[in-house]
Each structure stands twice: as structure tokens, then as C-alpha cells.
Symmetry: C2
Subunit: 465 residues, 2 copies
């Protein structure tokens, strides 16, 4: 599906660069696959792994930015790099407007970037990140799954299973969208950016353009699928259909989604005067879009506050930080970290009543490994600190405080749109100063690589000896 | 100073209720002192301590609200309770306007409430809170200080030292303000609410009314004093002048203050076109007012964003959560918790490079006691969760999202003014719906009692057996 489309694009814009870039990206995925297959035998040092991971995610957007510059001679390199970084990290913040009139090849390129970025992060979440032990990701070592469940294939075939399932889910989503009335190009791009929880659209008005309940609901399902650990899908297709329903991260994710959608829908119905079906549709679409960090919009949801009070806006703003499940394409703090933080807080409360009691925190009915709770808590703290720090830096470039704070949050959480008139769902990042765009690019990278992968490079000890 | 003023008030408004309430509050402080003297021998159960602490802080504002109702027959009980809770918790959010024309007795009553609330929390921070072990406060057990330093008097005389120093500092602040040109009443109220980092003023325009650099700088010093652990002052007057300069919490507090003031001042000077002295004065006053959670204003600082970009506003919004030092009258997350969180995050970074290394977090050059780091991290998480949750509830009462989110933050951090037109430094809480006022009162209480003291009452286990 992608290869022919790319070929079309290359025919229409016969430029060798596109080949080179596509090749580089494919190579990147290839390297990830090789790493996946070999992770057991691999013996390169931790420092090399940290450095290679971060560097590859800095350099790739540099190449991926080229097609944007070729397509539009007026675009600056800053804008092109921002757009590419936003694509590869599946953030979906855009500096481009007039999407409806843009050459199909470019729209496709944006979709492909997010789709490859999403695939890249799924594979990384099962291979490199647990090895690096960033933010408690060691909990998701495949070995751990293997010994306990025995249904996960060996690492060698696991990666190919992941790719197959990723492609299959994208195909199903795309075909459903064609069935709902989208053109093949629109369906392809939206399918790719839905499963990748990326959020790039082919229209300035985002998915709101299509004014179709069917499209909305298909994408709702697609975004939820994109925010669920893909390893579970592998277990399902390999004959363990219940794996999906036994995972506590999935329970909490779906529970939170359901609760938030109902609260927002009730508000839109009771105060906003929508019909029940419309309220459910708009609530589900926009809430799930924000929580999974996809960033599509069918309404300028930050304006809901003016009509129906601040509750839905406050709910959405908080959900932005939550994100989906670890091991999926979505970003944010992630549901499992909130579960662990909640377990730790509950233990604190019990310890207040029994100061000498011994309490062991559990996750998925097993005791949490040593070091994981501390790592998760440190992650949460660094997340808050990073959002605050980036917001200050953005404020120093002259942005107003709503744009600075929400821009920082949306970049680090890889959501896409911010809050307010400038970068809200109805706005665009193009008017920001160049410095702000580079800062936001750095924020997206940090958020996508779970903060610590990047931060560790700033520890002097990293470079010593 | 207070007793005669109270007598004057009672003469002008001969009402027995004022006596009763003043007596109740004095009794409360008295009980705290008794607890302080006996903490070693005391044998009542932990549950009783939690329940008594929370209940007393719920019931006292109920009485303290009476004078407001007597003075103004039109004020609702909700407003009066809100004002009293805001006073006792040293928050300083107000529903009253027309302060400039209000009877002196009422202005004095507001000041006395904050002053007693500030004294109450200092004594609690050295007696009850460490015993309850909430949010890592066990680090500040007086016994710990005693064994290591040997210069702290026994608990019996410690409390009287604290009261003496608290009175003396208020006197010095008040006399300085009289010297700077304030009337005795204004000076008394402002001295009391400065040292208590409370923020109630005698003017609608807050300290900005006086248009005096001398007043501003005196209050700057007073707010800093109010945000420093009072135990250190006891050590200083008992012949250990260096104690103040050896405490790492004080270092970090003053360092943060200095850095933030310089950033904001530079901005006001460079972008806002102020003279260097004016920039320093406005930056110091408003930054320190927000960070220590005092909540005075000499400018509507949230409007600075419109003139000079979002940086100062973002800095101030973040500082609101930081607060002062533990053991002072200020609230917020507190500096020592950020130090511990920072130490834990630093260890995480080192552990990424040496997965099998053993790292022990330190505070004030000593290893952090077992359980403290977890308690601090859980506190940080619950703080974020509480602010988010209260913001949602406030949004449900119909507030816009800026008012809901900043109102939640300002209540739980006991700062006072929020952000935006409604509850900003130039605004007032009187127009909020009653439900919102009760929610905010609950938020102030939770923030003041370090969250867990209140939250533990909602654990079912608390009420069992
Ligand atoms: K996104
Ligand atoms: K205050």
C-alpha cells in the first residue's frame, strides 16, 4: 500500500532525495529489527545505546525534512525540521496550512513519517527502552513475558509479528475509512496517522472536515487500538484472545477513557444542548484524541469551556499528560506509571496508620520489581519539571503564557495541538519564532524517548572515562 | 500589641462572641503548646491524632467566621466560613471588597486569624506533623535535631521560644512599617500577615496601595523570614548564628528566590522598559509574594505576560507550587521535597549508567531516612492529583478553565490570588458559586495539613476496628 503510493509520488516528483530518505528510514527500522532479533547476544555498552538512540532520532528528521523543502521552496529549514520531528515522534503539531490543496505526495509523506515513527517506537519499547531501564520500562522486558506466559514467540519472530500486526491494523483501518466514504489517499493517510496516534491529517479542519459519524467512530476505535500495548495483539493472534482483557494496564486505560468520555459527553448534553448521540460522538472523539495523544480534532474543544464551564477543558488538559499504555504508539506519562504511583500512594496512606507495617506494592498481581517504583516516581517528577522548564524557555521567546505552557505540555506529551488561539486545534505552529520551534522539537524528542534517554547525555559522568 | 487592639475592637463592637472565638483560638494554640511539651510522653493513638488535627482545623473557622457575620449582616455563612478558612490556613483569598472603608476591628480580625494560623502551623510542623509522618515530615522531628546539634532546647521550652521569636519578628516588621509611614493599624495587620505569609491586606489594592519602595522592601524581607524554618531562628538566638546559613533547605530556598527574581527583573527591565531599581523592586516583591505563598500584590503580575511575553508568568505559576521551607508559615510542596526529589532523580540518572551500582540519597549531608523518599514522592504525586481533581470539580461548578485550574492551585498551595480576571490579583472570590467556595475551603485545608493528614480519613481501614 505504501510502496506503490511512494512510487506514484516519486513519479510525480522525480527526485532521488526521496528515495534516499525513504531508504534511510527503512534502514532505521531495519536496524531496530536486527537489534530486536539479537538483543540477547548484543554486547555493546549502555552508553553507546543511549547515544545511538538519541542521535538517530535527532538525525533522521534532518533527512525527513528534505521533501518538505523540495515541495515548497519558501519553507525554512526550521519549519521543515519541526514538521519532520513532529511527524517521526508522532506528535502531529504542524506548521503547514492549506493542506487541502497540497500535493498528494507531501500529504502521504507526512503520513508515512508518523506511521514509521509509530512502528519504530513500538519496537523500541520492547527492545531498547527496557534494556536502558528508563522510567521503569524494565518492567516490559520481553524475557519477563516469555518466562511467565510462554505464548510470546522468541524475540527473533516477535518483531516480524509486530510489523505484520501493525500493517494489518493499518489496512483494516484504511479499508474501513474507504468504506465510510473517504478517498483512497485520505483513507491511507488517516489510517497511518490513526494507528500511530500521530494526528497528521490531509485537511486543515482535521477529521472535522469529513462531517461523518462513521469516520469519527472508526477513528475512535483506531486510536484506542493504537494506544494499547501491541505485544498483547501478538498474544491474541497467537491463540491467547484473553490476554487483551487480562492486562491491568488495558483495564485502567479503558476505564479512564470510558469515565472521561461519559463526563465530557454528559456535559455537552446537559449544558451544551447536544443530542445524546452527538454528545457521545464529539466527547468520544476529542477526549480519546487528546488522551491517546493523537491530536485530531472535530471541534475546537478548548472553546467548550466558554459554553459549558471549565470542567471538560480541565479534564482534557489533565488527560493530555496521561497518555496511553506503554508498548503502544502513544506517548505521555502512560497508564502503568499512574498505576504504580497510585499503588505507592495507597501504601503511604496505609503506612500512616501502621508505621511499622510491611507493604509491598503490586502491579498486575505481581510484586513490583526492585527499583521500578523509584524510577517511575523520578520519571513523574522529571516530567513535571521538564514541562515547567520548557514552558519558561518558550515564554522567554516571547510567547504568551497559555501558548508557552500548553505548547510545552503538548510537545513533551507528543499530543499535537496546544491550547489558545495560536496553537490550539484551530491554530497552527507556523507563526512561532524559530527558537520556539527548535525548543518544541527538543521537547518532542525528549517526550518520545521517555526523557531519561536524552537527559542522561547531560550527566557529566556520561562523558567521563 | 494584639490584646489591646482586640480590646479596642471589643469596645467598639461590644459583642461576647468575639471573646468566645478569641478564647477558642487561644485555647487551640494552648493545646498545641501542651502537645509540644508532652510529645514524648503522649500516648494517644495515631488515628485520634489524625482525626483531632483535621477536625480542629474544620471547626475553628466555623467559629472564626462569626465576626464577619456580625460586622456585615448581608454576608452569607459560606462567604464568612471561606474568609475564615482562608485566614486560618494563611491562604489569603478573600471574598471581601471595599477593605479600605471597613471597620478597623474587622481588618484586625483578619490579620489576627492569619497570624494565629501561622503560629499554629509552625508549632504543628515541629510536633504533630512529624509524629504523623505525613509527606516525609518525620525528617523534622525535634529529637533528630536534638541528638545531632545539642543546641535546641528541650521540647518544653522550645515552644515558648518559638512563640517569643514569632512575636518579636512581627513586632520588628510592624515597627519598620510604621517607620516607613504606615498607620499603626495598617502596620499591625500587614506585619501579622507578612510573617504568617498570609497576605490579607487592609486595602483592596493590597500593598500596591502604599506606593512606597520602603514598604515593599520591608515586606520582602518579612516574607522571606516567614518562609524560613523557625527552628533555625531559635538556634540563632541561642548562640548558633551560623545555623541559618548551614541549612541546605535555606540555601536552596534563597537560591531559587534570587534566581527567579533576577529572571523576572531582567525581563521587566529589558522588555518592560522599567528602570533597574523599579524592575528589581516589582520583581522581588511579586515573585517572593507568590513563591512564599503570601499573595500580596503590587502589580497585576499575570498581565505582565501581555507586555513582555509569557516567561515571568510561567515562572510565577511554577513557583506557586514550590512554596517556602518546611517548618515555616508558608505552604506549597516545600523546598526540601524538591531537594529530595532532585536527589532521587539524580540517582536514577546515575543508575542508568551503572545498573548495579548502589546509590544512597543524601539530604543535608546525611543519608535520607528509610521511607522518607517514598513519602515525599507520593506527596508530590498526590499534590498533582489533588490540584487536577479539584480543578475538575471547580470546572463542574461552571468556572472557566483558567479560574478552575489556578483556583485549585492557589487554594491547595495556600497562596491566595489565582490567575485571570475573576480571581487574579485584581479580582476577588466573591462572585464564585457557593459550591466552589466550599470546594476551595476544602482545598486550603488539605494543602495546609500536608494532604495526607486529611486523605487518610478517607481510607476505609481508618474507620475499621
Ligand atoms: K500526536
Ligand atoms: K497566602
Amino acid at each position: 500500500m505504501i510502496i506503490p503510493a511512494l512510487v506514484d509520488y516519486v513519479y510525480a516528483n522525480p527526485d532521488w532525495l526521496v528515495f534516499v530518505i525513504a531508504a534511510a528510514l527503512t534502514l532505521f527500522i531495519g536496524v531496530l529489527l536486527v537489534l530486536a532479533n539479537r538483543s540477547a547476544q548484543l554486547k555493546f555498552s549502555l552508553r553507546q545505546a543511549f547515544l545511538m538512540t538519541t542521535l538517530s532520532w535527532i538525525i533522521l528528521p534532518g533527512f525527513a525534512a528534505m521533501p518538505f523543502m523540495l515541495a515548497d521552496p519558501n519553507i525554512s529549514y526550521t519549519d521543515a525540521y519541526f514538521e519532520a520531528m513532529s511527524g517521526i515522534t508522532t506528535t502531529g503539531s504542524t506548521v503547514m496550512s492549506g493542506l487541502d490543496l497540497m500535493p498528494p505526495g507531501l500529504l502521504l509523506w507526512r503520513g508515512v513519517l508518523q506511521w514509521l515513527g509509530g512502528l519504530g517506537i513500538i519496537i523500541m519499547a520492547l527492545t531498547i527502552l527496557p534494556m536502558l531501564r528508563v522510567g521503569g520500562m524494565q518492567m516490559f522486558k520481553v524475557e519477563a513475558f516469555e518466562t511467565q506466559e510462554k505464548v510470546v514467540p522468541r524475540a527473533a519472530s516477535l518483531a516480524s509479528w509486530l510489523v505484520t500486526i501493525y500493517v494489518a491494523l493499518t489496512l483494516i483501518c484504511g479499508l474501513s475509512l474507504v468504506w465510510a466514504g473517504m478517498s483512497p489517499l485520505d483513507a491511507t493517510v488517516h489510517a497511518m496517522t490513526t494507528i500511530a496516534t500521530g494526528g497528521y491529517s490531509t485537511k486543515d479542519a482535521s477529521v472535522g472536515f469529513f462531517r461523518s459519524a462513521a469516520v469519527d467512530w472508526i477513528i475512535v476505535v483506531g486510536m484506542i487500538v493504537g494506544a494499547i500495548p501491541f505485544l498483547l495483539f501478538v498474544q491474541v493472534v497467537r491463540g491467547r484472545p484473553l490476554a487483551l482483557f487480562r492486562d491491568t494496564q488495558v483495564h485502567w486505560f479503558l476505564g479512564t477513557v470510558l469515565f472521561a468520555v461519559l463526563v465530557v459527553a454528559w456535559w455537552l448534553w446537559d449544558e451544551g444542548g447536544m443530542s445524546v448521540l452527538d454528545a457521545l460522538r464529539y466527547a468520544a472523539f476529542n477526549t480519546i484524541s487528546v488522551m491517546t495523544g493523537t491530536g485530531y480534532a472535530t471541534a475546537d474543544y478548548w472553546q467548550w469551556g466558554g459554553v459549558v464551564g471549565g470542567a471538560p477543558v480541565a479534564v482534557l488538559f489533565c488527560l493530555m499528560f496521561v497518555g496511553g499504555c506503554a508498548g503502544s504508539t502513544s506517548c505521555g506519562i502512560k497508564v502503568f506509571r499512574f498505576q504504580i504511583l497510585g499503588a505507592m500512594a495507597a501504601i503511604q496512606l496505609r503506612r500512616l496508620l501502621q508505621p511499622h507495617g510491611v507493604f509491598i506494592p503490586h502491579y498486575n498481581k505481581k510484586p513490583i520489581q526492585e527499583g521500578v517504583a523509584e524510577a517511575v516516581m523520578a520519571f513523574f517528577f522529571m516530567y513535571a519539571l521538564s514541562v515547567a522548564f520548557l514552558a519558561m524557555l518558550l515564554g522567554m521567546t516571547g510567547l504568551d503564557h497559555v501558548t508557552a505552557i500548553s505548547g510545552s505540555a503538548t510537545a513533551i506529551s507528543n499530543v499535537g495541538p496546544g491550547l489558545g488561539d495560536v496553537i490550539g486545534p484551530a491554530g497552527n505552529f507556523s507563526t512561532l519564532p524559530d527558537t520556539a520551534k527548535w525548543l518544541l522539537s527538543a521537547g518532542m524528542l525528549m517526550g518520545r524517548l521517555e526523557l531519561f534517554t536524552v537527559l542522561v547525555l547531560f550527566v557529566p559522568r556520561f562523558w567521563r572515562d
